[in-house]
């Protein structure tokens, strides 16, 4: 049977369901908190030329392009003559996978009647990969944990025991890390079973025709959307906190017909700490931002990603070179969309939002008994928290909501069962949204205290403390973040610090920038914000000119 256009459409639809199912399987079986709570994973199908044809929409735009590119590295390094049925490949190379050692990518070649027709790939953030653990304090990637180069985890169905032993002996959580590796392999198998059933149903020997159909249609739709963006050269710069010195981000967006290039030349050099970003991760977030604004409805695949050309000069903080430390590359990575959208705003006014808190405020807490010789057990607690997003041209920003990341927070009650802490407060931070005709989203305030008998260390990885989210078109900046003890003692916004028993850590997360002149804000909305306590009486008067 020669498939018709409608058959291809149906198969495309099915493939998206297949990769979503692949991702769901992984979420349900993974041990890593960030996989199941935050959707820190991805899953996709590739054709035999390593072109991505379908990818699950998960919580991490950072994996989108990264994964699309990684399979090409696998194909090249393994080599066509060494790809066998029953093989499974693995890596966590930050420069060939998704940007840091904690993300393990696994690739399974797909065979049909003995012929290699494509690959399934998936990535997940594992609980531990050895080294210093998840944090910015390493000076080189070598300190950040075990790097597994692109290699065969299994060949013709036989798992490489030597590799398993190496992994087990080099991580703090061998059962869980190895368990997650098996989960990754199993989710590729699940995808493969569905794919084969579909090929049976449509009586196809391979996916080449389908792949061309999907990639061509996506490329055409994307190019058309890019062509609708006015031609020109659009520049933007943004300063963010960085680890210890301010970091300058710069982008030049060149649009000409169906061509679009974002170039990060002029961006600051690398940091001595693990906030550096491999270029692949920068590309992912830049592309994500552009896609949201220009062609949001086109599914992710090689055809829809390729037209967005993104480059950063090697050696800048957004294109870190080996062996730079890159463990918390998400902090600056999450800020990339703000700088890109600011440039795009000059081409497409009234489409993109103001700047937001953008970088997640993840808190990794290590609770330790205050009396080291007692019998109280240690505990590790991980929380994900979000500040406010920037106001949109026609809508207020979203309060305490992740953007560009797509993660979820965890229940405080559940968190308090995990470790000996009390979260005294987790609520909106009043007055933190940037004023504007459209108000920026509010940040939040979190207060955490160790329970009796405990102190805790926390790993600060917080940005927008010195450099708030800027408003747009006359909107005001959002409130900057604050890191302190509840008694007002100031703490550092990056690095590991101690909170003693009876002290309370207080985090004030940044608000999003406002959009448009605050004096132009609908008076009913100002009154509603005042009634709800989202803005203060002084702000109503001073920022919005509200006399009530």
């Amino acid at each position: 049977m020669t498939p018709s256009g409608i058959d291809y459409q149906i198969m495309w639809n099915r493939l998206i369901a297949v990769v979503e199912e692949q991702a769901t399987t992984l979420i349900r079986t993974a041990f890593s908190t960030s996989v199941r709570e935050a959707g820190d994973l991805s899953a996709g199908l590739f054709d035999r030329s390593a072109r991505m044809i379908a990818q699950a929409v998960t919580g991490t735009p950072g994996h989108v392009n990264a994964m699309a590119e990684s399979v090409g590295h696998f194909a090249a390094e393994i080599g066509a003559q060494s790809i066998f049925e029953g093989d499974v490949y693995i890596t966590n190379d930050p420069w060939k996978g998704t940007g840091h050692l904690h993300d393990i990518t696994m690739v399974t070649p797909v065979f049909r009647s003995g012929v290699h027709i494509g690959y399934f790939a998936c990535t997940a953030h594992v609980v531990d990969i050895g080294g210093r653990g998840f944090g910015p304090d390493a000076g080189e990637v070598f300190e950040e944990g075990l790097l597994i180069p692109i290699s065969k985890f299994a060949e013709r169905g036989t798992v490489n025991d030597f590799m398993l032993k190496i992994i087990r002996e080099n991580v703090r959580t061998p059962d869980q890390t190895v368990g997650d590796i098996y989960s990754l392999a199993a989710c590729n198998d699940a995808g493969n079973r569905r794919l084969q059933a579909m090929l049976d149903e449509f009586d196809l020997a391979d996916i080449d025709g389908l792949s061309d159909f999907i990639i061509d249609a996506s490329r055409r739709a994307t190019l058309k959307a890019i062509a609708d963006v006015p031609d020109g050269v659009f520049d933007n710069t943004m300063q963010v906190d960085g680890y210890d010195t301010p970091t300058h981000m710069q982008v030049r967006l060149k649009v000409s017909g169906e061509d679009l290039l974002a170039d990060f030349s002029g961006t600051s050099g690398m940091s001595a700490f693990g906030v550096n970003v491999p270029e692949v991760y920068t590309r992912a977030y830049a592309c994500y931002a552009l896609k949201c604004a220009i062609a949001p409805e086109v599914p992710n695949n090689t055809g829809s990603l390729d037209p967005f050309l993104i480059t950063a000069p090697e050696g800048c903080i957004l294109a870190a070179k080996r062996p730079a430390p890159v463990s918390v590359r998400h902090v600056l990575g999450h800020l990339v969309p703000d700088v890109v959208l600011g440039a795009l705003h000059k081409a497409l006014p009234d489409v993109v939002p103001a700047e937001g808190a953008s970088a997640l405020w993840n808190i990794q807490i290590s609770a330790r008994a205050s009396e080291p010789n007692g019998d109280l057990p240690n505990a590790e607690v991980l929380m994900f928290n979000s500040g406010g997003t920037g106001a949109r041209p026609a809508l207020d920003g979203l309060s305490a909501t992740a953007f560009p990341s797509g993660v979820s927070t965890m229940s405080v009650e559940a968190t308090e069962h995990v470790g000996p802490i009390v979260v005294w407060r987790k609520e909106l931070r009043e007055g933190s949204g940037g004023a504007g005709a459209r108000r920026g989203g509010l940040g939040q305030i979190i207060e955490i205290e160790p329970r009796a008998g405990y102190d805790f260390y926390f790993n600060a990885m917080f940005d927008r403390v010195e450099n708030p989210a800027r408003g747009r078109n006359g909107g005001s900046d959002g409130a900057a973040g604050r890191v302190e003890l509840a008694d007002g003692t100031k703490l550092r916004s990056k690095g590991r610090q101690l909170v003693r028993n009876e002290e309370r850590l207080k985090l004030s997360l940044p608000g999003g920038g406002g959009y448009g002149d605050p004096l132009g804000r609908d008076r009913d909305l100002v009154e509603a914000d005042l009634r709800a306590g989202l803005i203060t009486v002084e702000q109503a008067k001073d920022d919005y000119g509200y006399e009530g």
Binding site: F31, T33, R36, D175, S386, A394, T409, A414, H417, E427
Partner: protein, 692 residues
């Protein structure tokens, strides 16, 4: 001669089913939004008339309704205050802090049910262990009572942190409010949903308080009208979990009425699963706007303890409000007869979730609808008879269906009208098949081993093709499928599920503490069931929610017993590992296992059903009419035999392709299936030997 009556109030129709020794009598009347009870009385009068039953012969009325769901969706609830722990005022507004649609820069999150100015905070705090960290002072209670009094509220919801572990503060707050304001509706999170995780618990207690005055008012009005009319039969309500509860319980915990209509549909299907001896069944209900799918194993619909209501964005996961209350677990997707088809920027046919509903409806309804819908596509493909749709009540116009399809689809795609229509039905079937497959995968099941039971106006048209896509061999289309939920109500047991957040690590399992908690759950659930079931024998079952320490989500584990002795942690561990392996294919050695929530269900025994034996001998139907119908699997038009369902007797077999017609709908039997009438009036559609 006593008769039982089931009443289901849906968005468009109120369905009534009466059952007595003479059989089943059903009717549909339009739902009356102003006075829902008026439609019920009208429907009851109609079925009584048809069945020749006097009002005083009615022995029982069983009622389910979507009114609670609608009140939440349309935000027509009481003025409600929410009193919560200081520091947690915004839990319901911050939600899970994520965006349910990743690529939409203009995403709008749903507004919380209670606005920020009506969320009051109390200076108090309980720890995860239940220990009081900060005492709730009398002054604080008095201050809050004063604020509620001044605020002119009709209802108050109280939700404190860890109240499932220690409800004293909530109770004290409620008692003080009750004394000061006797007319106030008061709901406690530790009563309505005593489970760990603040967001769903707070959502649940707020939803309960928000709809309570309205539901109480409606149910009291209904009771009064029934009495006036001379019907003094007891009334029972179907709850979300698919069992019956008293009107008094429904007034106290109206949140348990959510989705009771769809639950009735699942019970209806479960009845057929039992009588036909089907171990694994998949119910499939397709209406005008959505399709619902539910797994039924060993005769019982699958249940869950949380679900999401009032989705605001294309039925998308995350766009609604998660509540934790026992519920029949269903997947709902935006796929129905009214789902609108369009072509996207990549030249792909997209179907739904936008729906033309019943007004203006599909283009072929001739009521002003311009967009091509699934029903229009079915008409073009010869699957619907334009003169006999909905018993001839709606006349379909094939010209308008073609016009809409050509304008919006075939001219854009440059294909024939038939191909475009085929693309529409194929895409909607694909969407439903994908949803069903993912649902079974999430439960660690293979869908090929299920039998489908299809009902609702649209399901019989699509079910055969869906089975082809899913590799399902057998399909049952029960009779009376248009009012399945109301009939399902008549098959429901009395039941109540009591839940509790009670944390236990298996390596520190405290059997005494667990038994004490189980006594409370048993007492609570049994007393609610006794309100309807009287002295009838009861069945008890315990489900615990367990996980490996460090995991974020629990899995439900059925446990054979509900009282424990020291050392029983090994039994629980074995149960957990069995369930974990069934879901994920493996277990992990060396990790601690913990329990978070407990759910204890007390229920009357489900009525024994008479097994339906296969018809003794087969005979072919006299097909007088043949129509051209497009077969999706073979991709071409075929001559399909048209048979009236009423003309089929047990043992009548028709080979596909065929169309079985009846008043409410048509059943499509595709080329690879045949259909056989069963003794109970159900159609059994099975794969032809050659097609296996």
């Amino acid at each position: 001669m006593s008769a039982r009556i089931g009443v289901d109030i849906g968005g468009t129709f109120t369905d009534v089913a009466l059952e007595n020794e003479n059989g089943l009598f059903t009717t549909k009347v339009l739902t009356d939004y102003q006075a829902p009870e008026a439609a019920i009385l009208k429907g009851i009068a109609a079925v009584c008339d048809e069945g020749d039953v006097a009002f005083d012969q009615i022995s029982q009325i069983i009622h389910g309704t979507t009114l609670v769901t609608n009140a939440l969706i349309e935000r027509r609830g009481a003025k409600t205050a929410f009193i919560t722990t200081e520091g947690f005022r915004d839990v319901i507004e911050m939600r899970s802090e994520n965006r349910f649609e990743q690529y939409d820069l203009n995403l709008v999150l749903p507004d919380p049910l209670v606005a920020r100015e009506h969320r009051l905070v109390a200076h108090e705090r309980v720890a995860a262990t239940g220990e009081v960290l900060l005492e709730l002072s009398e002054d604080e209670v008095a201050r809050l009572v004063q604020t509620v009094q001044d605020g002119d509220y009709e209802a108050a919801a109280i939700g404190f942190m860890h109240a499932y572990a220690n409800p004293t503060h909530e109770r004290r707050m409620a008692a003080a409010l009750g004394v000061a304001m006797p007319g106030l509706s008061i709901s406690l999170s530790s009563v309505v949903s005593p489970q760990m995780r603040e967001l769903p618990r707070f959502n649940t207690v707020i939803a309960n308080a928000y709809v309570q005055p309205q539901v109480a008012d409606y149910l009291r009005r209904l009771m009064a009208r029934l009495t006036e009319t001379g019907i003094d039969a007891p009334v029972f309500m179907l709850h979300s979990g698919g069992g019956l509860m008293s009107v008094e319980t429904a007034i106290e915990q109206p949140v348990r009425l959510l989705e009771s209509g769809p639950a009735g549909g699942a019970i209806f299907a479960a009845g057929y699963a039992r009588s036909h001896g089907i171990e694994k069944a998949l119910s499939f209900d397709m209406g005008g706007t959505t399709a619902k799918i539910c797994m039924i194993e060993n005769g019982a619909p699958k249940s869950a303890n949380t679900f999401e209501i009032a989705r605001t964005y294309r039925f998308k996961k995350g766009s609604g409000m998660t509540v934790s209350t026992p519920v029949v677990e269903m997947v709902e997707i935006g796929a129905g007869g009214g789902s609108i088809a369009s072509v996207d920027s990549m030249g792909r046919i997209q179907v739904g979730p936008k729906s033309a509903g019943s007004e203006p409806g599909p283009a072929c309804y001739q009521r002003g609808g311009k967009a091509p819908t699934v029903t229009d596509a079915n008409l073009i493909l010869g699957r619907l008879d334009p003169d006999a749709f909905a018993g001839g009540k709606i006349r379909l116009n094939p010209g308008l269906a073609k016009e809409a399809t050509e304008r919006d689809l075939s001219s854009v795609l440059n294909v024939s009208t038939t191909e475009a229509a085929f693309g529409v039905t194929e895409m909607v079937d694909e969407n439903m098949a994908n949803a069903a497959r993912v649902h079974t995968v999430e439960h660690g099941r293979d869908i090929e081993h299920f039998t489908m039971i299809a009902f609702g106006g649209g399901a019989p048209l699509h079910a055969s093709r869906l089975c082809e896509k899913l590799g399902i061999e057998k399909l049952i289309i029960p009779p009376g499928a248009g009012v399945g939920s109301a009939i399902g109500f008549l098959r429901a047991p009395f039941s109540f599920e009591a839940t509790r957040g009670f944390y236990q690590r298996l390596d520190a399992f405290d059997a005494d503490a667990v038994n004490a908690m189980m006594e409370e759950l048993d007492e609570e659930a049994s007393s609610f069931v006794a309100m309807g079931a009287g002295e009838r024998p009861l069945e008890r079952s315990l489900t615990v929610f367990m996980r490996y320490a460090g995991q974020g989500w629990e899995i439900p584990v059925a446990v054979g017993t509900s009282r424990f002795a020291a050392g029983d942690d090994s039994v629980l561990l074995a149960n957990f590992e069995e369930a974990y392996r069934a879901l994920f294919g493996r277990t992990i050695d060396g990790l601690a296992v913990e329990i978070t929530n407990w759910a204890f269900n007390v229920s009357t025994r489900i009525e024994e059903v008479t097994a339906v034996t296969p018809p003794g001998s087969l005979h072919s139907a006299e097909a007088t009419v043949v129509r051209q119908a497009f077969d999706a699997g073979l991709r071409r038009e075929l001559e399909a035999k048209e048979v009236r369902r009423a003309d089929m007797t047990p043992g009548t077999r028709v080979e596909g392709p065929a169309v079985v017609t009846e008043e409410e709908t048509s059943t499509i039997v595709t080329a690879c299936f045949h259909v056989t009438m069963q003794k109970d009036g159900a159609l059994l559609i099975a794969r032809k030997e050659a097609a296996r």
